[in-house]
Assembly symmetry: C2
Homo-oligomer: 215 residues x 2
């Protein structure tokens, strides 16, 4: 297998932490997003959507979304389970992960990509160039603020987002919180449950590998 | 179990078709979105996010996203599998489903909710009221057009979106295509593969139960 990554970007970090938690040895290939390598002809042969992460299986199949990469690796390498073991856990984890992805990760993407000078004309990832919509940056920031306001209650006194076990819901929440630093949005000091969780999860070996940085 | 549904809305149809394919008997409860029943105190006790679908398990747990409901039911009622059986199939189906949800379903939502007079001040589902952004309706329509242009190639000569077996990728694509009719967007006549697939999938008993209608 080959994993197409970009260490400075938040999206592939979601898959990278997952791979590290499973302790799977996979060849890493760095894609130079800064110089738009993902838009070039060579990378389009790997992923016509021009996005990272991508997982290339040994038979040549390319999985081009975090969702696809997670589902594949969870089934092929079941231990440790990161998406639940019982039916109810699987449902609860998928529920939480979807809420965090859409309410947190996508809101931050909306905010950043519609306001950062470096992303003018590139307000969405992918093959089509879209102009920034300033009102959408405002809405994204507002959505993200609501999301951050709710994190402390989401964690509560549980060790992890979905309960007793580390899961993809923790991965996504950690990646969102670190991603939001690019826009100087942080957890409120009063969010003691959230901070306790954040410090524990940030200390795991899997999350140590190069944190993405704002360009 | 109880399934909180709304027969006129596209989102819960994704779960409703899934339940019908599995042939699971679940009590259906209709939520009156037209009269904003989902925003009322009684429904907030069931789902604080004020959205349908919701699946209530027998122990009282509420799953409030299609992603969570699908994962739970797939694990609790494995036959027929709708999310793949081998690791590779699971990855490919999740990949396709995510692309269809974000590139098709969310684009149509963006287009509709930012342009329909009935949705003024309600440009997003959920607890917070957001004003419409006309530029976002334009972008949503453009994204959806690109998505529709690619459906024929996505299907190709395969019986189903992910290959030989009906899956959640087919459910989502069918729901998007029917949802887009609300804005008079349809498959091009020349999309012969897509039309062949659409007619086959639309004839399944699971997809017959009340198709959502534009209000």
């Amino acid at each position: 297998m080959k994993f197409y990554d970009c260490k400075t970007a938040p999206s592939p970090r979601r898959a990278r932490i997952f791979i590290a938690e499973k302790n799977i040895a996979i060849e890493h290939i760095e894609v130079d997003l800064r110089n738009a390598e993902q838009m070039g002809d060579a990378f389009r042969q790997i992923n016509a959507y021009c996005t990272v992460p991508v997982l290339e299986l040994d038979n040549g199949t390319h999985l081009t979304t975090t969702a696809g990469i997670w589902q594949y690796l969870e089934a092929a390498y079941p231990e440790p389970a990161l998406m639940g073991t019982t039916a109810e856990q699987k449902g609860i984890i998928a529920d939480l992960q979807w809420r965090i992805e859409t309410g947190g990760f996508m809101a931050m993407g909306e905010y950043l990509r519609n306001s950062a000078p470096a992303m003018k004309g590139r307000a969405l990832t992918g093959t089509v160039n879209y102009e920034q919509i300033p009102e959408l940056a405002v809405r994204g920031k507002d959505r993200l603020t609501h999301f951050f306001d709710d994190i402390d209650e989401l964690i509560g006194t549980k060790p992890y987002v979905a309960g007793e076990t580390f899961s993809v819901a923790d991965i996504d929440l950690l990646v969102v919180i670190d991603f939001a630093k690019w826009k100087k949005i942080t957890l409120p000091k009063t969010a003691v449950n959230a901070w306790r969780w954040y410090e524990t999860v940030s200390a795991r070996p899997s999350t140590q590998s190069v944190e993405p940085v704002s360009r």
